[in-house]
Structure formats: structure tokens, C-alpha cells
Symmetry: C2
Subunit: 157 residues, 2 copies
DNA sequence: CTTGACCTTCCAGTGGATGGAATCTCTATC
DNA sequence: GATAGAGATTCCATCCACTGGAAGGTCAAG
């Protein structure tokens, strides 16, 4: 099978398939004319890769999964470990994005969205810093960011 | 102010600040010795950029936001439009990830995770295709992916 | 004078492809 | 046999937003 057929058949662009060969995920044979010749085994691997990538596994994880796929004596615990790591990563990402979403939604809702310049979104972006660990008031005097420091340092040279 | 101080003060790595200069987001002055000299205005811009990036806005969006930030006659509707587009993108991403998470969670839960090779995760990955649009049975005979086609095409040269 | 912190530039690499150019190779048709 | 067009090949560049590291200049303290 030529690359175009494989592409159509496993849903991966030909470019991607060449790329996968390049990074060693598949090793299709070559014909005399230089064309790649994909065997059933290559097709299976590519379909496997396509599915794994669509589930968000990284190429590195795909490599591991692929070697487990081809290992008859694999332990399902190894597969599960990779999947769980990935799942945890996804869930952490979801939480991050939900926090972002909440913040943005609040800002967007509070913004009038008219032709005047006043805007809570801008106010948030321009605000000094998200004081997660608010410093004691006295320590501000020695901050590198206040005006005095700025002038001093500007004048230093 | 030197880049190191700016870095500490606005929380962006020096490398990032240089990069932001490189792509034209800030234009700090230069001293005679070649060192960058950041003024208050640059500090504000960098802090703004740091916050905007931490909210997930792309550099391109940051560029737009920054020019709105410096435009006294801006319309808050322009700001809001950018933020809403971004919010929508985040929410779409969350949905995607939640679907992934659900699929993966199901697979992980069904996997024994022992020393035997049987594994629902592998079974899923190795499965032909996620038949979102299941083809009529008869059409499989002409698929490029069945054995006959494979052999034919392999034998063609 | 030396040390070490800080600054500079430039180049390369990350991940995972994707776009495009220039150049074969095959097949079909005239 | 000529030719057109599809499909294959390679290689190089590009995307995003940095980040790492090398090689070298500058500055303040001891």
C-alpha cells in the first residue's frame, strides 16, 4: 500500500505518516522506486497511533504504548500507569482552565462592552500584581518596583 | 532599571523580556554600555503582558490588548470582544478535555492493572476506528483497508 | 587584579506537525 | 511516443512562546 492509501485508510495525513517514520514510530519498507510500502503491521501501528494521539497521549507516551502493544508479555499495569498519568494531567489541565474561565467570565460579565474606555478587564490586566502573598505594608518601601527604586536605578548610570 | 530588576519586579524571566522586545512588544531604551534601560512605562507594559499571558491570552491577543491599553479613546467593546473570544476558546477546550477525561477514566477503571497482558485500554487503542459514522456493512468490501485491497496493492509492483 | 554577578548577542531546540518547492514516478489518454 | 496529471519523494521553513547554552562584554566589591 502507498502512503496515500494508508493516509485515507487510517485517517492520518501523509505528512504526519512521513513524520512518524522520521521519528521512528513506523518503519515501512521501500520499493525499488523509493516509494514506501506499508504492510498490515504498519497500518495497525498507524491506526493505533492515530487513536492514541486523538486521546491526547504525547508522542513519547505513544512510543511506550506502541512497544507495549507489540509486547505479548506486557503487564496491563504498565499500560494503566501511562494512561493514569495522562488522565491526571488532563484533569489538572481542566482545573486550570476552569479557574481561568471563571476569572475571565467574571471580567467579561462586568464589562459594559460599549464605546467608552472604562473596562474592568483592562483594570484587571493593568493591576500591579495578583497579591497571592500580600507583603506587609512596611516592606513595600524597599520593593524594587516603587518609584524611588526606579528613579535611583535609572539614575545609577 | 536593568533587566534583572525588571524581571524580579514583574515576575517575567529576563529571557522572556528580551523575547518580548525582540517581537516588538516593548521598546526599552539602551544605555551607552548596551544595557537595556527600562522606564516605568516599560514596567507597566511588561506587568500587563505577564498578567494577560497568565490569563492565557496569545501573544497576538496581547499585542491587541496592549494597544487598547495605551489607547485612551478605546471602546471597552473591543476589549470585551477579545476576552470573550478567548473565553469561548477556553470553554471549548474544557469540553474537549472533559470528553477525553471521561473516556480515559472509563478505560483506566476497567483495566485490572495486573501482570497479565489483557487490557481494555490497549483494546481501545487497537480497535479499527471510532465508528462515528458506521458504514453500511456492504461497503466494507471495497474499503482500502481490508485484506484483499492490501494484498492487491502490495502485489501491484 | 581578580572574582563573580550581571549583561549582551546569537544559535539551537522544544512538540507535533504542516506548508511549500523542486523533483521523480506512475498511469491514462491521445 | 508524447504528454498531462496524480501521487510520490526529499528538504527546508514555519508555527507558538519561549528556553538553554555558549561566548564574550561590563560593573562593583574585595
Amino acid at each position: 500500500m502507498n502512503i496515500g492509501d494508508v493516509s485515507e485508510c487510517c485517517g492520518l495525513p501523509a505528512k504526519t505518516i512521513r513524520y512518524y517514520e522520521d521519528i521512528g514510530l513506523v518503519q515501512p519498507a521501500r520499493r525499488e522506486n523509493g516509494y514506501r510500502e506499508f504492510a498490515r503491521r504498519d497500518l495497525h501501528k498507524l491506526a493505533f497511533l492515530g487513536r492514541a494521539r486523538s486521546l491526547g497521549f504525547s508522542i513519547k507516551e505513544c512510543r511506550s504504548l506502541l512497544s507495549l502493544y507489540e509486547d505479548r508479555k506486557r503487564s496491563s499495569s504498565d499500560v494503566k500507569a501511562i494512561a493514569r498519568t495522562h488522565l491526571d494531567r488532563i484533569d489538572r489541565k481542566i482545573e486550570e482552565l476552569q479557574a481561568l474561565s471563571a476569572t475571565l467570565r467574571d471580567l467579561v460579565e462586568r464589562c459594559q462592552g460599549d464605546d467608552r474606555p472604562e473596562c474592568p478587564i483592562m483594570d484587571d490586566l493593568a493591576r500591579p500584581a495578583p497579591n497571592e502573598h500580600p507583603a506587609p505594608l512596611m516592606s513595600r518601601a524597599s520593593s524594587k518596583c516603587d518609584n524611588a527604586s526606579l528613579e535611583n536605578r535609572s539614575a545609577r548610570m
